[in-house]
């Protein structure tokens, strides 16, 4: 069983202890196990998407997937990766500050996490807009025949059509995987925003640090998914330094 940290008041512990738990340690262990079990379902959910991608990428259309990937914006993806990694740092720091009762520092770190998450979404929006402008929306009638020509290298009309269809599958996977990731980001920003507001109002005292820890685990998981989206979607093709743009 857990031993309560020195310097923590009995009244503070009692105010957060649920009646169905023996002690605060058991309650915290249960919360932690709960979020990890939730993350197993998330691993399997994203696993299905990664598996579908793997079948198309590795088994069926490796060349078309590689060629289509080289039209994605690596610069924006890299900036977004740095933003997510920085937000993982700030939310991890927030746990310690909440435990220490440093309200100001915790509020700042949680606010920064939210802000970095919103910035990620802004860059993602910009990337989607550029994809739209370059005719890379797979359900568009003019897909791959505008600014970016995905039929390049085809020697016949049939081959051009096949190339276009295969590239369409890559972009469907790209929009599906990044779209689901964006939905998770929006949920994460909402959750972090909620504890930021509580922290700011002084409602999140040190005994409730587990709430931050649980939400931080979700946030890190969303970061983990992005870490694997980078090589599979953005870094799978060939890129040149000249093609980098915002």
């Amino acid at each position: 069983m857990s031993v309560e940290a020195p310097g923590k008041s009995e009244a503070g512990v009692e105010s957060v202890l649920g009646h169905h738990f023996d002690d605060i340690g058991q309650q915290r262990d249960a919360a932690k196990l709960g979020i990890w079990l939730f993350m197993i379902t998330e691993i399997l959910f994203f696993g299905g998407l990664f598996l579908a991608y793997t079948v198309y990428r590795a088994v069926w259309y490796p060349d078309e997937f590689k060629a289509a990937s080289s039209h994605l914006n690596v610069l924006i993806a890299t900036i977004n990766s740095v933003l997510l990694l920085a937000s993982s740092l700030t939310i991890t720091l927030a746990i310690g500050y909440v435990r220490a009762g440093s309200r100001k520092a915790a509020t700042f770190c949680l606010g920064m996490t939210c802000l970095l998450g919103i910035l990620f979404l802004c860059f993602k929006g910009r990337e989607y807009y550029l994809d739209y402008k370059e005719d890379l929306i797979p359900w568009s009638a003019t897909f791959g025949q505008g600014e970016v020509d995905l039929t390049e290298g085809a020697t016949s009309a049939d081959e051009a059509k096949a190339k276009l269809q295969r590239s369409r599958i890559f972009f469907m996977a790209y929009f599906c995987m990044t779209g689901v990731h964006v939905i998770h980001m929006i949920v994460g920003i909402g959750l972090v925003g909620w504890i930021w507001w509580e922290c700011r109002r002084g409602l999140l005292h040190s005994e409730r640090f587990m709430k931050v820890e649980v939400i931080s685990l979700y946030w890190h998981f969303v970061d983990l998914v992005w870490i694997f989206l980078m090589p599979l979607l953005y870094l799978a093709g060939e890129h040149s330094l000249d093609s980098l743009h915002l």
């Binding site: 857990s2 069926w60 991890t92 720091l93 870094l235 330094l241």
Partner: protein, 110 residues
């Protein structure tokens, strides 16, 4: 540092989760460096199967660093490790059974 009081805490199951600012900054630096290594690989001419393999290996190192230090898996109990391994194990079954099926079929032509 404000977090220094916290580092003395010895709560069972949560030990070591204190704010070690320097340690977390080093973790962030490692993660960012691995990201830059991964991105730079895309500008190099690496033969086809090795390019994706290398970038996935670097991404896996990033994931491991994040799991161990930011997600505090290093200080976590066996039950947490078991949860993660169970998730990976079931994903492994999903990948293995699906790929054995697809890899043994004739090439799909679209």
């Amino acid at each position: 540092m404000e977090g220094s009081d916290v580092s003395k805490e010895t709560e069972n199951g949560h030990a070591g989760q204190a704010t070690h600012l320097f340690g977390y900054l080093v973790t962030f630096a490692v993660l960012t460096t691995l990201l830059l290594v991964n991105v730079s690989l895309t500008f190099m001419e690496i033969p086809a199967p090795w390019h994706i393999v290398l970038t996935l290996v670097v991404a896996s190192l990033q994931a491991l660093t994040l799991l161990l230090f930011f997600m505090h898996l290093k200080q976590s109990d066996m039950l947490t490790w078991l949860s993660l391994l169970a998730g990976l194990f079931w994903s492994g079954i999903m990948f293995l059974l699906t790929l054995t099926d697809y890899l043994s079929r004739p090439y799909g032509v679209l």
